[in-house]
């Protein structure tokens, strides 16, 4: 029955007109993902009115293409110009941009495409065959779980800032503080707006990303050092790179698989979204690797870990949506709207009465993943050459795009100024050897931690014991254990390294 529906869905996708819709969707998605300031959510919302006139299956297949395309597209600017196209690609910059600077942009782009496709594949299979039980698990996430998930996310800072943990945590604190700007999620108090009503909206993540990641790079390298091109080496794309990268990734099956699973899990916890998925996955890849020192200096393993996770997050966030009608991410919310407009109510119906349409959508996601790997691999010839454009043309073009992107995200002029201020702060702080990642991590996690904590306190007080409410729950206990492990790990790793050295010296 399930297999039948899946095969029927696949047939639906292979109808030539639907294939075309899917391809157009993937292409649009890549463009929306690649341009900072345009998001997958916006691409989907723009397309929803067009899907009215299509059959439900065709419409959903096209939406599937956009979603999957965007999850890859955001890696392109992350790799080439150190600017994640969407927040989900932050961790892609850690190794993607260093690779670019070594003249290996094509390697990174292909790794991103292949890992994205693989992550998508794994998560889609999980979505197709194991969604209902997982959806139940996703409901077990309550306020305490979100709080501990946020704290676990913060422990990533300790490994992101190996040189100086104090600097890392200082930056993280700044991020948490920035996340408090605007209306309090609980209580509705207006904080730190300095009299600008526009600031009630808080600080947009993408604006901070552009400011902290993209502008300092231009200021330091291109303007500061008057470099003629963005990278030291010109990039010469070649066909053999595709084969090399795929082979290299096949040698690390555990890494890619683990990343895909992490992405799926973070995706199906409603509301967690992909922003954390790639960070957590990158962190775990580095932790379990035999050569953690390679990370951050340009390794395709880092790019693959991040991209496999954020692409797996997309189908993951559809698990609670399709089974329970609860959107796990903003793009999923748009897809929910599209389903409702076609008269399909998420829930059990989707897997029985509307099974053929549902599986056409899921198979659309799957086939889109393959399209992404093809477009990404061969597109890398074209994309990677962008970085060869002389700085005197490229830098102004990038600055223009950053202004446009900061404005486009919320149609707010103040966001452009915020972006510039962050750019200058980012420039100064990178001179002082602060990495921007902990700031952004704090900004992402702040709301989770705050909401989780305050809600837990309220619910805990109602139940009579706040402490017991926050700790004595199965998932909470696991997350607490992970926090402790993650916090202690750097010291453990150091101790192990020292011991190894001693052993070698004894010999």
């Amino acid at each position: 029955m399930l297999i039948d529906a899946a095969l029927y869905g696949l047939l639906e996708v292979f109808i030539p007109s639907n294939m075309l819709f899917l391809f157009v969707g993937v292409f649009m998605g890549i463009v929306f993902g690649a341009l900072p300031g345009l998001t997958a959510t916006m691409g989907l919302a723009l397309l929803v009115p067009f899907t009215f006139t299509m059959s439900p299956a065709s419409g959903l297949i096209m939406l599937a293409g956009i979603y999957v395309g965007a999850m890859y597209g955001d890696a392109i600017p992350a790799i080439l110009i150190n600017t994640p196209g969407t927040p989900a690609a932050i961790a892609t910059t850690f190794d993607g941009f260093p690779l670019s600077q070594k003249g290996m942009a094509q390697h990174a782009l292909v790794a991103a495409a292949v890992a994205s496709a693989f992550g998508s594949l794994v998560a889609n299979l999980i979505l197709a065959f194991a969604a209902p039980p997982l959806a139940k698990a996703s409901l077990a996430f309550g306020p305490p779980e979100y709080f501990w998930l946020g704290i676990f996310g913060l422990t990533i800072i300790s490994s992101l800032s190996a040189e100086s943990m104090i600097k890392g945590f200082l930056a993280g604190t700044v991020g948490l503080l920035l996340s408090a700007v605007g209306m309090a999620p609980i209580g509705g108090d207006v904080r730190l707006t300095f009299g600008f009503p526009e600031l009630q909206a808080g600080i947009a993540l993408i604006v901070a990303l552009i400011g902290f990641f993209c502008l300092p790079e231009i200021l330091i390298n291109v303007i500061g050092q008057r470099r003629a091109t963005y990278t030291d080496k010109l990039i010469e794309p070649s066909l053999s790179v595709i084969g090399q990268v795929i082979k290299a990734l096949f040698l690390h099956p555990i890494l890619v698989f683990r990343s895909a699973i992490i992405g799926t899990i973070v995706g199906f916890a409603p509301g967690a979204g992909g922003n954390i998925a790639s960070m957590v996955s990158y962190n775990e890849a580095k932790r379990w690797d035999k050569h953690p020192e390679e990370y951050g200096k340009g390794t395709i393993k880092g790019v693959a870990a991040s991209e496999a996770a954020n692409s797996a997050m997309a189908p993951g966030s559809l698990i609670p949506l399709l089974t329970l009608g609860i959107p796990g991410s903003p793009p999923a919310a748009v897809i929910l709207g599209a389903l409702m407009l076609h008269g399909m109510r998420p829930g059990a119906d989707l897997f029985s009465i509307h099974a053929h349409v549902t599986f056409a959508f899921i198979m659309g996601l799957l086939v889109a993943a393959f399209m992404v790997s093809l477009i990404g691999s061969f597109g890398s010839f074209f994309f990677s050459r962008i970085i060869n454009i002389p700085s005197r043309y490229l830098a102004p073009a990038i600055i223009f795009m950053t202004v446009l992107g900061s404005y486009a995200i919320r149609n707010n002029v103040l966001d452009i100024w915020i972006m510039f201020v962050f750019g200058i702060v980012g420039y100064v702080s990178s001179k002082l050897k602060f990495h921007p990642a902990p700031i952004v991590l704090g900004l992402i996690l702040g709301p989770f931690i705050e909401e989780g904590l305050v809600q837990s306190m309220l619910a805990g007080r109602a139940s009579g014991n706040v402490f017991a409410y926050m700790t004595l729950r199965p998932i909470s206990l696991v997350l607490i254990a992970l926090c402790v492990m993650s916090a202690v790990w750097p010291f453990f790793a150091k101790w192990k390294a020292v011991r190894r050295k001693e052993k070698e010296e004894q010999r």
Partner: protein, 315 residues
């Protein structure tokens, strides 16, 4: 020289004057700003109207987003726009009433927003899970009376429609319950279905969507809610509480009455379109067709009901 300048000025302004008096509004694209993010219910509604608005008004309608502050950032922008009718925005009750009341400086005042029309109501209901021990509203109030603060009620936002309904009901029933706000209805429903709260304040469309898992103790509508006719209303149980999220469109202060009227006609034509009404009902909404003047009166009435509640609970 001076005379020459005056003549020049008059000559150049003549076509402008003539233009404004002769040309029919609208003659260029209208921007329809949504003060929430893409994909929300306000956005979906605007997307549903967009092609029909274009058909009836004969010009392009551009939907854009200005999210933030629960809508306040978008409305603060709206009141600063030129009152030409070419920039309109989605407006929501109770947001536009409660924000200025609760926040002091929300960036706009309720009276500054000129309502064009309201086209959709979403009654708010108080619900529990099917397997809950509370079979009726009176059982819940009875329990809450004996255990003050022990009942947790989820909802979306602080000083929102859900929050004010919670306060109004607690006050009317003489009970204390704990309100646990979530940022957004989707998260609130997830938390409720996961059993992290005992009851939830939710919009009718969400309750319809999860019909098989929930028991609605009472709806905040005047008449019984058509999709779930068996669920009582607060009124029928003796509580004078009206709780609803109403969606409409508004224009900047000072927009000429004839232009408001043009827009109003188009919106009402869509709102009374049988096909659109059918779609709305199916998804768990109540179609509305409230014109500009009627909307103004409605806003004032609701404001009178809410002002004392906000004053009492906002320390």
């Amino acid at each position: 020289m001076k005379r020459f300048l005056v003549i020049l000025l008059v000559l150049t302004s003549l076509p402008l004057l003539a233009g404004s008096s002769q040309a029919e509004f609208p003659e260029k694209a209208i921007t329809y700003s949504i003060p929430f993010g893409p994909g929300g219910q306000s956005d979906l509604e605007a997307r549903r109207q967009q092609p029909l608005l274009e058909k009836y008004l004969g010009v392009d309608v551009i939907v854009q987003y200005k999210p933030g502050g629960g809508g306040s950032v978008g409305w603060a922008e709206l009141i600063k726009k030129k009152p030409t009718g070419y920039f309109i925005s989605g407006i929501n009750i109770p947001h536009i009433i409660l924000q200025p009341l609760a926040r002091g400086n929300a960036g706009y005042e309720t009276e500054q927003l000129q309502p064009i029309a309201f086209f959709q109501a979403t009654p708010i209901g108080l619900a529990v899970l099917k397997d809950s021990e509370f079979k009726s509203l009176s059982e819940l109030t009875e329990y809450a009376k004996q255990n003050p603060g022990a009942v947790t009620c989820g909802g979306s936002g602080t000083w929102s429609g859900h929050h004010i309904a919670h306060l109004q009901f607690s006050k009317a029933a003489g009970i204390t319950m704990t309100y646990i706000p979530e940022s957004g209805a989707a998260k609130s429903i997830a938390s409720f279905l996961g059993g992290h709260v005992q009851a939830v304040w939710a919009n009718s469309n969400d309750l319809v969507q999860h019909e098989d898992k929930v028991r609605v103790l009472a709806f905040g509508s005047e008449k019984p809610f058509a999709n779930m006719p068996d669920a009582p209303t607060f009124k029928s149980l003796g509580f004078d509480i009206l709780a609803s999220i109403d969606r409409g469109a508004g224009a900047p202060p000072g927009t000429p009455a004839d232009r408001i009227q043009k827009l109003e006609e188009a919106f009402l034509k869509i709102a009374t379109d049988p096909k659109i009404m059918e779609q709305m009902k199916r998804d768990g909404f109540v179609p509305l067709a409230m014109g500009s003047e009627e909307s103004k009166a409605y806003i004032q009435k609701m404001r009178k009901a809410w002002e004392p509640v906000v004053k009492e609970f906002k320390k």
